[in-house]
Assembly symmetry: C3
Amino acid sequence: MRSYRKELWFEVKGRREFINITPRVKECLKESGVREGLVLVNAMHITASVFINDDEPGLHQDYDKWLEELAPHEPVNQYRHNVGEDNADAHMKRQVMGREVVVAITEGRLDFGPWEQIFYGEFDGGRKKRVLVKIIGE
Amino acid sequence: MRSYRKELWFEVKGRREFINITPRVKECLKESGVREGLVLVNAMHITASVFINDDEPGLHQDYDKWLEELAPHEPVNQYRHNVGEDNADAHMKRQVMGREVVVAITEGRLDFGPWEQIFYGEFDGGRKKRVLVKIIGE
Amino acid sequence: MRSYRKELWFEVKGRREFINITPRVKECLKESGVREGLVLVNAMHITASVFINDDEPGLHQDYDKWLEELAPHEPVNQYRHNVGEDNADAHMKRQVMGREVVVAITEGRLDFGPWEQIFYGEFDGGRKKRVLVKIIGE
């Protein structure tokens, strides 16, 4: 069994953003040399997500608006977590969108349907944060 | 390490439906010959889910109603994604229910609690769509 | 490839609770002897979650309130599932928080960011329920 590990770093300037990280995960897979196996891609921070969906800007705006409705950022004092913090909403948004994805590797490639793309979802930006790529297989 | 891959195909006539795919995943496991490992079951489309819950029709009706409240299909023009499309709500419903499940394989069986069943959740039917079953182990 | 399996048992007295199970998963990892691989931690029951987030009591209160808003327990007769049951809301809360986490194992340790902790989320307590820990790797 082979294993491979890499951290991908991000620094989002604003509070929220979705970034397509599929090309970077593909590079990891190539570096790993794994032909058959699984790749785990997870946010290493608890106010961010990794998820798979469509690379379509209108949809990303819809997601942002929808998540704000489900778990509004303001007023920040509605959350007990926000004592010296203001990111409780980000902890909730991340649960809706998910922490991680597991993707099959088949014949050396991400085994994806036609529109699947991997995104980093930032909900509390303004500082450096990481995504872990872990590959096992052979 | 062994690996196994199969696509399961579905064509839901209406817009939304939940289908119990546990028997089909069990067949895959049997074909794979894997005794210890992991099985990944994921929707290959971004307006569908694979999730684990109860095979109880009342609950499925509750899920459908609840998801419609969280992310209504109509009016379709409330979503920026819906330019020439009408399925933005399906992209949201799928995030709540999830893209994938990972299930342990122990002694050649799905290592499940008493009521766990695997479902395909369709949120934008009317065409052929796929689920990927990927098994690794030995 | 090595594989390891353990069930963790819980009995929550009230209806809902979040329990940090990170120390118990670390014990499992140590017992397994696996240095590189993946650990799957999943609820074996369909009204409970395993998720990764912050071990902060204010946040857990926020989660509880938020989940009650998204899927209220009462009135119980608003749900079709609740015929001789009263836990339909728990099936919904569990979908938002998730069934499982997959965590990378690197050099014999859970490969975590600075604040990641694993929680058992109970949404329908008052009886014994289980979490599965399955480790594969070498």
